[in-house]
Symmetry: C2
Subunit: 200 residues, 2 copies
């Protein structure tokens, strides 16, 4: 930071650098854009930031981000309420929804187990998932945490807890991505894709 | 855009994508960060956006961005008021101030001549520059527009106008950047650096 900026510009740059992936130079460029843009545009941006904080809550059933409670997905009677897909974050839920190939319910953990970062089972929405399962209506839980070390460990942990409840537990397939090129794909993925091969 | 986002999230993403260099994916990531951050942080960001629009004006002398009028630089009696450094934007002024090697006044054009984009002399703060020069106190004008096609053309144009006023007109040196490596420097820069060589 330097002293050449007027105080309000300096403040805006400081606030913008708090955002992920925004360094001081980008923040300055954004601040300049905001200064040049119309008053309406700047107010629109500020208002949308406030409104998102004000109006968005977590669904009390699946813990997805939502304006209404329960969320649109939990309320949707056309969806299969006997399957729960467990994801680590709302981003993953949206990615799955975009794929258009899932019509069940969700449960958002808001994180994955990560002993290194001090994130244990109590920091995730695990007890809430278990109470949903204990109602006895759920027939399958799809574990859709990321295929990372923490995601795999979280899936393993969940499988151990859910299996005794006599509910089917499945894990999303890990393998060669569509459109991928075998020669550029890492060994772990290739070995998974061989291990999980299916008859044709 | 997809329908899976709640309306306030969608709105925030739309507002964020209006910023330069922010695409839909980055906007989504930023929106998620804002959703996760504290209410104070979100309000701080929104407030700083509003305040920068509310409090920042153009200096009536040099047209730099400022909270007070005239700006701190124009008011600073320790600075040499007989030299004006002409820059195309406030960013350039700040870069020069950071270098710490200029102690005169400035004039911010807010653009460069660009026939392709339809930016002519009337769209820049040119008449304001000329009236400053006509007051008769200025001894030198340093043209510090960018060494781009438009920047060079703007400098040429300004020199043509200012020279008849019997004011010294100079152009910042263009040459090999400090720390640069000759083998990677473009021909135009190398040819400029030879042309503008100085005795040692």
């Amino acid at each position: 930071m330097n002293i050449q900026h007027a105080q309000p510009i300096l403040r805006l740059i400081q606030e913008l650098t708090k955002l992920p992936g925004i360094g001081e130079k980008t923040a300055f460029r954004l601040a300049m854009h905001i200064l040049r843009s119309s008053k309406e545009d700047a107010e629109g941006l500020a208002r949308s930031i406030l409104q998102v904080k004000e109006k968005i809550r977590l669904c009390s059933q699946c813990f997805n981000l939502t304006e209404q409670n329960p969320c649109r997905i939990c309320q949707d009677l056309r969806r299969n309420a006997e399957i729960i897909c467990v994801v680590s974050g709302p981003e993953d839920l949206i990615a799955l929804e975009k794929s258009g190939s899932y019509r069940g319910h969700y449960h958002v953990l808001h994180g994955v187990l990560s002993p290194l970062e001090g994130i244990g089972p109590k920091d995730l929405r695990l007890s809430e998932l278990l109470s949903r399962l204990q109602e006895g209506k759920i027939k399958e839980v799809i574990l859709a945490t990321n295929p990372s070390v923490e995601g795999e460990a979280t899936a393993q942990y969940l499988a151990q807890i859910i299996n005794p409840l006599n509910i089917r537990v499945t894990r999303i397939a890990r393998g060669v991505p569509m459109g991928g090129d075998l020669q550029y794909i890492d060994e772990a993925t290739l070995s998974k894709s061989l291990e999980n091969r299916s008859p044709l």
